[in-house]
């Protein structure tokens, strides 16, 4: 049964089904594109407020226009949605209330007014009111062909505006202060973004409803962000994510019995977001944990090498074997940690092992010497140029020594004139 429906869906032989699918895919990707800018502007929840605030506008448009003509409804929705954003800004500007309070306030009060109007309409018996409450929860399946035309127009309008005002939107999205100081008309770009957001919300609501439409704006760019830093690529990615989830939503609601479209769109797009959040290379959680692990291990091994070198200095030679207590004498470290550091160094062939203990290999000794040199150079630099007392420079050097590149190392040596001793009168080892 399900397989049959699936085959039927994928054949796209039903023209109504095809237009619904097209409509939903178009809506999802358009709101994802606009949402990218809302997201970068950190206005994600404003989208939620707009979504709730369009309800009274839609109801008023219906009461005045006495029809469900999507153009009337979009105009009505646009007016109250736009009003809500401005009210949020007004409240945060003129009172000490913070943005989250203002958003929640506007969102709930506008929605309350909408509910009052909606019940008024239902009680008053204006003909044709049934289906108006679909706006609350979205009714993608009820999208008709003429609706698709309207949404198609709005989508094209939205995408063209994004392309036309790309530069303004981009600059304000990342840094509105900079944009202002560069002489850009931030207020114009803001107005543009507000308008686009409201339009995107108004159209998105048709597919997924008031509560979920915020996700159509926020979640695709949130997912895309994990894959790229590049704005055009991010926009394209979120559009694709939006389109894919729109498609999956329509598919699920067609194939499974009694399934609403909206929630499936949201579940799909959030699935993509969670996947990106965990697995994306570079910014995903797994990758970052691995990176963190690698940095920690590098620090550990470098510290062990350095400690061994200094233990060698103490006794006057670096060639004989080092015992564990000898290495551990320099700093407090867990035995297992020290052991795992030594093992890693052994695997990387910086150390050798025999029955007497641990030995440096040639490359190990060179690396250890370099680390000690950097540490002491940095200490010298800090006392000489920054004027920090010699007994305070150790910790800082301990942190920075892992990050000094060979170029910096050379610069440091030249700048300090290749000093013989560090502030603690220890000799600085050069090759």
């Amino acid at each position: 049964m399900i397989a049959e429906r699936l085959a039927e869906f994928l054949s796209f032989s039903d023209p109504i089904l095809l237009s619904v699918t097209l409509g939903v895919v178009l809506l999802s990707s358009t709101s994802a594109i606009v949402g990218t800018f809302t997201f970068l502007r950190k206005q994600a929840l404003v989208g939620d407020a707009v979504a709730h605030s369009v309800l009274p506008g839609i109801c008023l448009a219906f009461i005045i226009g006495e029809s469900k003509n999507p153009i009337y409804l979009i105009i009505g929705a646009f007016i109250t949605g736009w009003l809500s954003i401005n009210l949020i800004h007004k409240i945060t500007k003129t009172t000490r209330l913070k943005e989250d309070t203002a958003i929640a306030l506007v969102l709930s009060v506008f929605f309350g007014v909408g509910i009052v109007l909606l019940t008024y309409i239902q009680h008053s018996g204006i003909p044709g009111h049934s289906g108006l409450d679909h706006i609350l929860f979205g009714q993608a399946a009820a999208i008709t062909r003429s609706d698709v035309h309207v949404f198609g127009m709005v989508s094209i309008l939205l995408i063209t505006s994004v392309l036309l005002f790309y530069k303004e939107l981009k600059t304000t999205a990342f840094d509105s202060d900079f944009a202002r100081s560069a002489g850009m008309k931030v207020s114009f770009a803001d107005l543009m973004l507000t308008t686009l957001t409201v339009l995107a919300v108004v159209t998105g609501i048709q597919a997924v409803g008031v509560v979920l439409v915020a996700a159509m704006l926020i979640t695709p760019p949130a997912a895309a962000r994990y894959w790229t830093h590049d704005l055009p690529l991010m926009i394209i990615l979120s559009a694709i994510f939006g389109a894919v989830s729109g498609f999956m939503g329509t598919l699920a609601s067609y194939v499974l019995p009694n399934m609403p479209t909206g929630p499936w769109i949201i579940v799909t797009i959030t699935g993509i977001a969670f996947f990106s959040f965990i697995f994306a290379p570079g910014k995903g959680v797994l990758f970052r944990l691995y990176h963190q692990f690698k940095v920690r291990r590098r620090m550990l091994t470098e510290n062990v090498l350095k400690d061994m070198y200094m233990a060698g200095e103490k006794r006057g030679n670096h060639n004989n074997a080092f015992t564990l207590p000898e290495i551990a004498a320099h700093r407090r470290m867990h035995k297992e940690k020290l052991q795992s550091g030594l093992n890693k160094l052994y695997l990387d062939r910086f150390l050798k092992k025999d029955e007497n203990g641990w030995h440096f290999t040639i490359s190990g000794l060179n690396k250890a010497r370099r680390l000690v040199k950097i540490h002491r150079l940095w200490e010298t630099y800090l006392t000489r140029y920054v004027g920090i007392a010699p007994d305070h420079v150790h910790d800082d050097a301990e942190a920075i020594e892992h990050y000094i590149t060979p170029e910096l190392e050379k610069k440091l040596t030249d700048e300090l004139d290749r000093p013989e001793k560090d502030p603690h009168e220890s000799e600085i080892p050069y090759d």
Binding site: A104, G112, I115, V211, A215, A222, F277, V285
Partner: protein
Amino acid sequence: MDAFFVILTGSLVAVTCGILGIFLMLRRMVMIGDAISHSVLPGIVIAFLISGSRDGLAMLIAAVITGLLTTFIIQFIHEKGKLQADASIGVTFTWLFAIGIILISVFADYVDLDQECVLYGEIAYVPIDLWILPSGIIMGPRSVYMLGTVLLIVVITILFFFKEFYMVTFDQDFAVSTGLSVTLWHYILMALISLTTVASFESVGAILVVAFLVAPPASAYLLSDDFKTIIILTVFIGIIVAISGYFLAVYINSSISGSMTVMAGIIFAIAWLLAFRRRNFQKSLKIIKF
């Protein structure tokens, strides 16, 4: 009598939400409250499937679990995933709400719930939905008991741990330095909000919960600087909203929770105007001084 119970229910929600809302507002976490009020939906559905009824302990436990889960996911994505706070909230609650609706659709034959009810409830049914003892004695509306219990829990918790809540709200660094766990108190606050949402969702719905969480505290905060005065004002405003909202609804023959929200908005607007005057008055005082 019906009017009395509706107003009583509204007031109970108003007072409970108002008190919690003050802390949320001052900690800049109102939108997390909003998120929880939506995201408890899947918890409610699952509890309903397990226990087979709308009331009782199962519902409250499920609510607390989903509420805390919401908070945890938001925190996790924000901290581990480095996603900005507003987006973490938006992604999480819409996802959970969507799952809730899907669950309702899948188990439509078993679950006597719908999403309209979750969003705006039906407070008018409160007086009909009675708690009747097995012996046949009618105890009065069920919601009133449920909400009364939650109010008691909230008030007792906050009074008992007032110092902790106060410190965590006003001076996190100091709280941390005295050894308080900010995270623990954060989660306790969120658990209380989840309890409140679920206890009130049937009668007033998520939207009125959010309105009561934010509007009375915001109005009170514009009118006073003193923490205790803000609490008293919040409670007072909440009750006024419940009463006037009810009569507005009767007058225009419309949704009661919607009308209460409208009244909350009107009272906020008045407080906003008064705050303007107050600020100008203080400014003129300063001018006179210098």
